[in-house]
């Protein structure tokens, strides 16, 4: 009999945000995420005392999924950041820092949560409307006829993940590979709906990064012995492929609900094996060159096939089935008897390939929309980080196709947005105060909190004690190294803004981000020549950043709205 235990009463905590415990926890979390942000971000070593290797990372997803947070408020925050990162691919740290900043800034103000939430929402819609509008001064259209902006985008992502441990050359190499892999997933013949293919990332740890390659088609890993037994291929134009989604091991499992009585001397195994061999004969007579099976192939059948110079590969696994059926252009076969000739697929060529210590069978399709990215890095943790980064980059490229815009990176979007909001709330506060119950002072306070949250986000790109400035014309973000002499003019000391669009010789004036300034109207038109001429830009994905901004403000609002926490202690 099961033990019955009375449920313990829950713990009810009132006004959680005012408690010292929560504040301390929030500031610790903020410290962790802030220090990871950006290309010069500090790495974190995650060490689980219960096992697994030590992971070095600076990415939000890896970081937050391994941290064990206990307080419910932090749980909400980390869950929301992780979901955002999983959904949009990038900008997880951005979301986390912005959310923490907002909560922290708003708590200093003595305003009711109702007013804060309402105004935050207005400011958010001001931002999103601006970022989506044609007049936006911090986004660049993506020109798909050249690879420049896309390459910049991939490179920005790679540089912002220092835990991949890549040198400048390696970054160039990998970003070119990622872009190529992405372009290979775009089908050649498109109808009205483009269905993107897939990039399979194949691990190869312990090799040099420069050894990474992109190959069209699929790599099926096999053991060295299998590899050695592979026969030289018949050279034909097209190879016929049979793909089986069922077991060919001769098992007979589904007998229905009744009972089967077998007479003495009748061997079902032989019967099934007979069936299998008949299938083998059919395959041979249909001139099939390659047999792939998701599950196990009976050794006798394998033997039979190999004597007839048919390559048989089994235990392909469920994950490869869908790409395989796409590459060969067929549905997996699910029947032993009467296999229809229509259900064979084809590949252009099959060749054995050896990379490092691994052996593969390389299927080269007629029409490419599936490719394999063979990714190398020196050790496990760096490889994991690089893999995550590649996935992020591919994801970001996909969303850029849907929304062909990129945002300026390097903190410039944030400072520009902050300048825009300051300007808007200063010049036309009426449009934001349409609701009852908020005063102009409330709006100014909240707008200041919002803008300084954005600006300190831009400021947290700087980790080496330097200062962050903003110019008074474009509202971009500039950073100056620590220990620079104060007497020199700014124009000589600064070289380029964060995104690389402007340089310091443009007769600009600067001021510190933290200092109070007059609201300026940031220049909202982007000089076309500037975007074309500038060498290497730092850009971010629009979809991801916009999503991150929305999620950050929504989550902050959610947390600020909490009045009780009921903890179930069972």
């Amino acid at each position: 009999m099961s033990r019955l235990e009375a449920k313990k009463p829950s713990l009810c905590e009132s006004e959680p945000l005012t408690s010292e415990r929560v504040r301390a926890a929030l500031s610790v979390l903020k410290g962790i995420v802030t220090s990871c942000y950006g290309p010069s971000g500090r790495l974190k070593q995650l060490h689980n005392g219960l096992g697994g290797y030590v992971r070095t990372t600076s990415q939000s997803w890896a970081l937050l999924s391994n941290l064990s947070v206990t307080h419910p408020v932090l749980k909400i925050l980390t869950a929301s950041v992780q979901n955002q990162a999983a959904c949009f691919g990038d900008c997880g740290l951005f979301t986390a820092i912005l959310c923490c900043n907002l909560i922290e800034n708003v708590q200093r103000l003595a305003l009711t949560p109702a007013a804060v939430i309402r105004l935050n929402k207005h400011l958010l819609s001001l931002c999103t409307d601006y970022l989506k509008s044609e007049a936006c001064g911090c986004r660049i259209p993506v020109d798909f006829s050249s690879s420049r902006i896309l390459l910049c985008l991939v490179r920005s992502i790679l540089t912002s993940k220092p835990a991949c441990m890549l040198t400048r050359n390696e970054i160039d190499h990998i970003s070119a590979l990622i872009l190529r892999a992405f372009l290979l997933t775009i089908p050649e013949h498109t109808e009205e709906h483009i269905i993107l293919g897939k990039t399979m990332i194949v691990p190869l740890k312990g090799q040099r990064v420069k050894d990474s390659v992109v190959l069209p088609g699929i790599l099926i890993e096999m053991s060295e012995i299998q590899f050695a037994r592979l026969l030289p291929f018949k050279k034909a134009d097209v190879l016929k492929v049979a793909l089986f989604g069922m077991s060919l091991s001769g098992d007979f499992s589904d007998t229905g609900e009744g009972t089967v009585m077998v007479s003495r001397g009748v061997s079902l195994e032989n019967a099934v094996l007979d069936q299998l061999l008949r299938l083998g004969r059919q395959l041979v007579s249909d001139h099939v060159d390659l047999v792939l099976c998701q599950k196990v192939i009976h050794p006798s059948l394998k033997q039979f096939l190999s004597t007839h110079r048919v390559i048989a590969i089994d235990r392909v696994g469920g994950t490869l089935m869908e790409p395989l059926s796409k590459v060969t252009g067929t549905q997996p076969i699910g029947s032993l008897d009467s296999v229809s000739p229509n259900s064979y697929g084809s590949v252009k060529n099959v060749c054995p390939a050896q990379f490092g210590f691994k052996h593969f069978l390389h299927l080269i399709p007629n029409e490419v929309s599936i490719c394999s990215l063979l990714l190398c890095n020196r050790n496990d943790t760096a490889w994991d980080e690089l893999k995550l980064t590649c996935q992020t980059a591919l994801h970001v490229l996909q969303s850029t196709i849907k929304e062909p815009w990129v945002l300026l990176g390097g903190g410039c979007t944030e400072t520009h947005l902050a300048a825009y909001i300051r300007h808007k709330t200063h010049t036309e506060p009426e449009s934001l105060l349409s609701d009852e119950g908020c005063t102009q002072t409330d709006l100014e306070l909240i707008a200041e909190a919002f803008c300084s949250a954005l600006e300190s986000l831009a400021g947290s790109l700087e980790h080496d004690g330097g200062e962050t400035l903003t110019d008074m014309k474009y509202g971009h973000c500039w950073s100056v190294q620590a220990g620079s002499p104060a007497v020199v003019s700014w124009a000589d000391l600064l070289s380029q803004c964060g995104c690389g669009l402007h340089n310091s010789q443009e007769e600009l004036s600067w001021s510190f981000l933290k200092s109070t300034r007059h609201p300026i109207a940031p220049d909202t038109c982007l000089p076309q020549t500037a975007t074309d001429s500038a060498g290497s830009l730092t850009v971010d994905c629009l979809t991801a950043k916009l999503g991150g901004l929305q999620v950050a403000v929504e989550t902050a609002n959610l947390i600020l709205d909490l009045s009780y926490i009921i903890e179930d202690k069972n």
Binding site: A79, C87, A114, G245, G258, T259, S335
Partner: protein, 720 residues
């Protein structure tokens, strides 16, 4: 150990609950974060969920929570108001007993005796509460309050259609109390869009029943994107991927199966003797051929999609792919029945002979995979054969807890709408002797007031009555014909009497026998009303002054609405018992479906007003006491709702304004624009009173410290 059950103990418990609940109440209410023992977090403002999450130990608290959850099962809303109202009632009771304690103390009674005495007193109070709840409340609702009701339906002569703007107001008010502040407008708009998209002109309550029953199947949650990415999708999303997908254009024929298409090797209960290997092989071969033939046949019948509630064998999927048929497997029973309800599709049973026509097919406009955050769904454009046009809600949110909150709120809203579409029957006894003072004067006087209220209410709350103005003439004519019919019946005066109190819409099909009865037992008071009515009828047929036009028209609508909803299934509404000398009248009436009142404590203030008025006329002190108790407790709710407001919107201001309006027969104008269901409020009040009665009748709480013993239910049949 035993503890005395007392009002005081219950009050203490209720007050603790009130402090928690009241902070989440109303438009200014805030969120509560609940953690589950598994570590998941859940956001909520739903009173019922909060109370359950607290895992209360105190026995009285558990009684209260049980009452709340049984109320929620019925009404789907009002848990927070429940606690607040209960707390105020207990507070009132406590104050009363405190006052009387002084008298008891002077008698110098022993403490134990005192306890028993107070228990007796509570028993009496609970009796009084019971009579109040069963009789007085209904009559007050019916006679006084009903004239303030507005309707959510835009009324026209023959049918009722849901009015878009008033349902928006209703939902906004509902979500105000359920969803976080930054999302409630968006969610209520989404919900409103949703059911207006799903509705056809002829759909009524059944559509809300369907949405309530199949809520889980009709929405999809996506974590990650912001809430504002939530959307409505035309068609049905099945929470699974295709087993095989073959693109097809145009209208697609679908069939549904509930068993494996491939014939089984053996069926249950049978034995299959295998005598040779070839026998085995041929039977296998036959099975394959059979499957192949069925799929070919389906293809021949132009079927392009196979929906299956079970997992089909590999071969079925393979042959389906060969024949260009897409397959979706493992549908849940609920999904199957939803599809059946929408398309009237019955499952297809593969038969032995292959030459047959498949009659059970349905058409879909499209069927394609749908990807939401890298998870795949099957998107079906079902062509509906019923009043429901299938649409799905995709709910987005940064965390799962928030999505769940929105799901729960939406589900609750469907429940609430479902309740709103039903009539609620009221029944009460009215004593003939009372009629003199309670009925005659107020009714004849308030009749005009009521008309004004409805009329001005139209203007102030922007209920689309525009169309009624157009129909004014028709309606008026109809009314007149009614009146004529009545006058032809000779007993017209009495009929009119039945006609005039708009709150009790009488059916016109009363036979003369009953009218005779009515005539016989009429008290002098009622004759006076008749006197009042005669000139009215005249005025109607001759003068046609504008105000009266309006009034009769509204009357007429009222009547027709109730007539339609009841479909004459109810017997005549009023009958008098002749047998009893005291001449009681049993009335039964109903709160018509779709009755609403403005939010923000309007219902409570109105009921408070009429209850205090009623209390003044009561003869027995107990009745007066109970009425006053409830009347005062009701005010607690608007007080909490207005707690953050000041100046013009503060509670005292609001209250005085409403009272003034009622005294001078002016329309009560609410500062808030939302609407709420009257039926929900009424059910809430009765549930609270029942809970209070339950608490009051307990005198001793005995706590037992051991495992609950299993009670064996012995069936009487076993013993026989």
């Amino acid at each position: 150990m035993a503890a005395a059950g007392s009002v005081k103990a219950a009050l203490q418990v209720a007050e603790v609950l009130e402090t928690i609940v009241s902070r989440c109440m109303g438009p200014e209410g805030r969120q509560v974060l609940c953690t589950k023992p598994t570590g998941e977090v859940l956001l909520s403002r739903d009173g019922g969920r909060l109370l359950q999450a607290l895992h209360l130990e105190h026995p009285i608290a558990r009684v209260i929570v049980a009452c709340v959850s049984s109320h929620l099962k019925k009404a789907g809303d009002g848990a927070k108001t429940f606690i607040v109202l209960l707390c105020h009632l207990l507070r009132g009771l406590h104050a009363i007993t405190d006052k009387e304690k002084g008298d008891l103390m002077s008698e110098n009674m022993q403490t134990h005796g005192k306890h028993w005495k107070s228990c007796c007193q509570w028993k009496c109070i609970s009796q009084a509460l019971l009579t109040f709840q069963t009789h007085t409340l209904d009559s007050i609702m019916d006679q006084y309050l009903s004239r303030h009701f507005l309707s959510i339906f835009s009324s026209s002569a023959n049918e009722r259609t849901l009015c878009r703007s008033s349902s928006e107001l209703l939902l906004e008010a509902y979500f105000c109390g359920r969803v976080g502040r930054n999302n409630h407008k968006f969610i209520s708009q989404l919900m409103c869009d949703y059911f207006f998209k799903c509705m056809t002109c002829k759909s009524g309550i059944e559509i809300f029943e369907l949405m309530d029953d199949y809520f889980v199947e009709l929405n999809v949650g996506v974590t990650g994107p912001p809430v504002s990415d939530s959307k409505i999708i035309a068609g049905l999303l099945l929470h699974r991927d295709f087993s095989v997908y073959c693109p097809a254009d145009g209208d697609i024929r679908i069939v549904m199966v509930t068993e494996a298409i491939q014939p089984p090797f053996t069926t249950s209960g049978s034995e299959f003797f295998l005598n040779s290997e070839t026998q085995f092989q041929t039977s296998q071969f036959w099975i394959m051929e059979r499957t192949k033939a069925i799929m070919k046949h389906l293809n021949g019948q132009n079927v392009k999609l196979l929906l299956s509630s079970v997992k089909q064998p590999n071969s079925v999927v393979y042959y389906a792919a060969l024949n260009g048929i897409s397959v979706v497997e493992c549908l849940s029973a609920k999904e199957v029945s939803l599809i059946q309800r929408i398309t009237d599709l019955s499952p297809f049973v593969p038969q032995a002979s292959s030459q047959y026509d498949i009659s059970n097919t349905a058409l879909v406009k499209f069927c394609k995979p749908f990807i939401l955050r890298s998870k795949r769904y099957v998107h079906l454009g079902l062509i509906s054969t019923c009043a429901f046009i299938p649409h799905c809600i995709v709910l987005c949110g940064p965390v799962q807890g928030l999505i769940e909150q929105h799901e729960n709120a939406l589900h609750g809203a469907f429940k609430m709408l479902r309740q709103l579409h039903k009539d609620l029957d009221l029944s009460y006894i009215r004593y003939a002797s009372d009629q003199n003072d309670t009925l005659s004067i107020p009714v004849s006087k308030n009749r005009r007031e009521n008309d004004q209220l409805v009329e001005t209410g139209n203007k102030s709350i922007q209920r689309p009555y525009q169309d009624t103005v157009v129909k004014d003439k028709d309606d008026l004519e109809k009314t007149q014909t009614y009146l004529k019919v009545y006058s032809n019946l000779v007993v017209s005066d009495i009929e009119l009497e039945a006609y005039i109190p708009c709150s009790t819409p009488e059916l016109t099909s009363e036979d003369t026998f009953q009218i005779d009865e009515t005539l016989r037992c009429l008290s002098p008071g009622e004759h006076r009303i008749i006197g009042d009515c005669a000139p009215l009828a005249e005025g109607n047929s001759i003068a046609n002054s504008t105000t009266e036009n309006m009034r009769t028209e509204i009357f007429c609508e009222n009547l027709q609405i109730t007539k339609i909803t009841r479909k004459q299934s109810m017997s005549p509404v009023k009958y008098n018992s002749l047998d009893e000398g005291t001449c009681q009248s049993y009335y039964s009436s109903s709160i018509p479906a779709g009755s609403v009142l403005p939010v923000g404590g309007n219902f409570e203030i109105l009921l408070h007003y009429y209850l205090t008025k009623y209390a003044k006329k009561c003869q027995s002190s107990e009745e007066t006491m109970v009425s006053m108790l409830i009347a005062n407790a009701l005010l607690g709710i608007p007080k909490i709702l207005c707690r953050y407001k000041n100046g013009k919107y503060s509670f005292p201001h609001l209250y005085l304004k409403a009272l003034h309006a009622l005294e001078t027969n002016q329309p009560v104008v609410s500062s808030q624009t939302g609407l709420e269901s009257v039926i929900g409020k009424y059910q809430l009040l009765t549930s609270v009173l029942q809970c209070l009665i339950k608490i009051l009748t307990v005198d001793l709480i005995i706590s037992i410290k051991r495992q609950p013993q299993k009670v064996h239910h012995q069936d009487s049949e076993d013993e026989l």
